[in-house]
């Protein structure tokens, strides 16, 4: 007996999304958002009047790179899940199904751009050269942010949903001021100006309901800030379907703020890359914010503590597995003769090597010392922190030699 009351989130069939599209059309008085798709689930490349030219710029090496990235992050995801099951990680947040949305967008960013993730953007982290072993430190409980954002322009994960969205807009307002200062100083003419930069901020369909997203979009629009809002609509906010967050396609919300909104097939890495490349350049050139809604699916659980069988049908997962981002790119690469068995074998071997590195790094990772928390609460000297640290040191010193004594007793 199936849970027939559960809404489907299938967008091709007769599910709720179609109903929503129809409702949205009625509300908006015009067709709801069309979805940009270039590489279909069957692995054939379609056309788009705006975005095909972006796809044409991608050579075989780039496309093989996209595949290798997606395969690597999926293998990493499996390994992290296994490490959680072994008790090596406190929690894991799987991304399987969202590889194209993350690799496509991340690879469209440039080094001078600054990225604010939520907490599932492992694929974007890979594209920003974050050491994935460092990324796991947060989930092992040995750091609240294992990497230095200044090294990669990839901010720390933010767990309070959407709280990073106004940070992104503020950062973008800073970029605007830097550019205006540089122009005032005549750096642009002298050719010494920094390359133009934009900010990209990730959030999900669930977080789209948070007030911070609204406030961020208002600020971004008011100041024409160079920021791309990248919403991964993975259809489930833990157990609650997108229909509870919105009655219209999320990309349509951009119109209410006065900037472009684009829905893209989030399982099509070529389309995601094209749309994001366009949006980031739009922002860098001073044309203001863009909202991208990547229509994708969280194939796995919300976290390793979640049980999707309680709220959705496995048949729905199967429908989405048929749209798998890796499989469709593999089909395309093979059909076009851009990659052969040897390539895919190498990708698999590289994935296993990455997994081995992750395992080893996790097993060997250091244990933190609470003294670093005392040291990092404030930048400047603080009498209460100093007093409590002094007490802690004295208290700890009282246990000196106790372990050895216990050992002797045994």
């Amino acid at each position: 007996m199936g849970a027939t009351h559960l809404p489907s989130t299938e967008f091709d069939g007769t599910g709720l999304d179609d109903q929503l599209e129809a409702e949205a059309e009625a509300v908006l008085g015009e067709p709801a958002a069309e979805m940009v798709q270039l590489l279909g689930p069957d692995g054939t490349l379609g056309t788009d009047s705006v975005f095909s030219e972006y796809a044409e710029r991608l050579d075989a090496e780039k496309l093989r790179g996209f595949y290798a990235d997606m395969a690597a992050i999926r293998r990493f995801d499996q390994e992290a899940t296994a490490l959680q099951r072994q008790g090596q990680l406190a929690l894991w947040v799987p991304l399987t199904g969202q590889e194209a949305a993350q690799i496509g967008s991340g690879r469209a960013s440039q080094p001078q751009d600054y990225i604010f993730p939520t907490y599932r953007e492992h694929g974007v982290a890979l594209t920003r050269n974050v050491d994935l072993a460092e990324l796991l430190r947060q989930f092992r409980g040995i750091s609240n942010g294992g990497w230095n954002p200044k090294d990669t322009n990839f901010h720390l994960y933010t767990l309070v949903l959407a709280a990073q969205t106004p940070h992104a807009v503020g950062y973008a307002m800073g970029i605007q001021r830097d550019q205006r200062l540089a122009e005032a100083n005549g750096l642009a003419e002298s050719g010494t100006a920094e390359p133009k930069a934009a900010v990209m901020v990730y959030f999900g369909d669930g977080a789209s309901s948070e007030g911070d997203v609204h406030e961020s979009m208002v600020f971004a629009s008011s100041y024409n800030a160079p920021v791309v809002f990248f919403c991964q609509n993975n259809h489930w906010a833990i157990s609650v379907p997108t229909a509870v967050q919105t009655r219209i396609p999320l990309s349509n919300r951009a119109k209410g703020y006065g900037f472009p909104g684009i829905r893209v097939d989030g399982n099509d890495v070529i389309a995601v890359h094209a749309v994001t490349e366009w949006a980031l350049e739009h922002a860098r050139q001073g044309n203001g914010p863009v909202l991208i809604e990547a229509f994708t699916y969280r194939v796995g659980a919300h976290t390793t503590a979640d049980d999707p069988t309680k709220y959705r049908e496995s048949s729905e997962e199967a429908l989405w597995r048929a749209k798998d981002p890796l499989e469709r790119l593999e089909k395309y690469l093979r059909t076009e003769g851009m990659a052969d068995d040897a390539f895919f074998e190498q990708v698999a071997a590289d994935g296993n090597e990455l997994a081995a590195y992750i395992r080893k790094s996790t097993y060997e990772s250091d244990t933190p010392d609470i003294r670093t928390a005392f040291a990092n609460t404030y930048v400047e000297a603080h009498p209460l922190v100093a007093e409590e640290l002094a007490w802690f040191e004295e208290y700890s010193a009282g246990f000196a030699g106790e372990d050895a004594a216990e050992g002797a007793g045994n």
Partner: protein, 326 residues
């Protein structure tokens, strides 16, 4: 030395900050051509332009959140929250993001954001315009909280807050905005360290710790007590987080009696923290329990009865009587 109101002193302090540091900027609602509802930013947009004095959309979480982003990019934002009771839409950004960014980045990131909040009652205003929420922020590690009680402190403390690499909340005693005082704009003098308490009246029989709007009230109460032959030492706390317990302890070891007064409700308040710390540090010097004077455990009452709610001279004298007759 120049005589100016506290509001003008903050205005001049902000002007000095904007002049001295090209990365500093002001953000808030109505702070541009209007100069803020209390005119604290009066004239600054004309002088420094809309990139430095930013009229924001009406959204406190957005103000604090974008200020964090600007700070991450290397800017020094000073946010104005229009009234104490309106800070709560920004509470999440202040407590879960601003306060923790340095710690959670293992010290790699700093977010030197300043948040100015006019606070306190006694202005006969309507709901949400008279509150004292400082304890809610003092409980959050990572924040610093200061509050000037006079024009000289106001001029220097706002600049020191901007210079501080940690996030700082400046609670401004709104009913004292028009209180005039001497300001030395050349030298901070005694105001050099914003996190140090000041003994503003020396005494030998009891210590009264107050801050912000209650400093003049406590001084008046001490004068009244002097007429009865009681010598009351008054301490202006100045910094609510961290608290300068050393100065309070030294005073209590001299006087043996302590009362703490603030407009905020006594339950869970700063007075309780001071009472606990001083009882730990100076138990044998205390001749009587530490007595707290403050607001009642109720939402801030309607303006027509706020006189019964706010600690005044008589409430402080009553507390002094209790400690003397214990």
């Amino acid at each position: 030395m120049t005589t100016m109101t506290i509001a003008k002193a903050i205005n001049e302090g902000l002007r000095a900050t904007l002049s001295n540091n090209p990365k500093s900027l002001l953000m808030g609602e109505d702070i541009g051509p209007l100069g803020g509802v209390y005119r604290v930013t009066d004239g600054l947009i004309a002088e420094f332009g809309a990139d430095r004095v930013v009229d924001t959309p009406l959204a406190e979480s957005g103000i604090v959140g974008t200020a964090i982003g600007l700070a991450l990019r290397g800017y020094l934002p000073v946010c104005e929250i229009q009234f104490d009771g309106f800070v709560f839409p920004g509470f999440n950004q202040i407590t879960t993001q601003l306060a923790k960014m340095h710690s959670r980045s293992n010290g790699n990131l700093t977010v030197p954001v300043v948040i100015r909040i006019p606070y306190g009652g006694g202005i006969g205003s309507i709901e949400h315009h008279s509150e004292s929420p400082e304890a809610l922020f003092a409980h959050t590690a990572g924040l610093r909280i200061i509050t000037p009680s006079n024009a000289h402190d106001a001029y220097w403390m706002i600049q020191q807050a901007v210079d501080c690499q940690d996030p700082v909340i400046v609670f401004e005693p709104k009913r004292r905005y028009w209180l005039k005082g001497e300001v030395d704009t050349e030298a901070a003098g005694l105001a050099e360290d914003p996190f140090k308490a000041h003994v503003v009246r020396e005494g030998t029989d009891a210590t009264a710790v107050v801050y912000g709007p209650l400093v003049p009230v406590a001084l008046a109460a001490a004068n009244a007590a002097a007429e009865d032959g009681r010598s009351v030492e008054v301490i202006d706390l100045r910094s609510i987080s961290p608290i300068d317990f050393d100065t309070i302890e030294a005073s209590v070891k001299k006087t043996g009696r302590l009362i703490v007064a603030h407009e905020a409700p006594t339950f869970g308040g700063i007075g309780g923290e001071i009472a606990a710390r001083i009882s730990e540090r100076a138990f044998h010097s205390l001749e009587a329990p530490v007595i707290r004077v403050g607001g009642f455990h109720m939402p801030y009452p309607v303006a027509k009865v706020e006189e019964d709610y706010l600690p005044d001279i008589d409430r402080i004298l009553e507390a002094l009587d209790r400690t003397f007759t214990y």
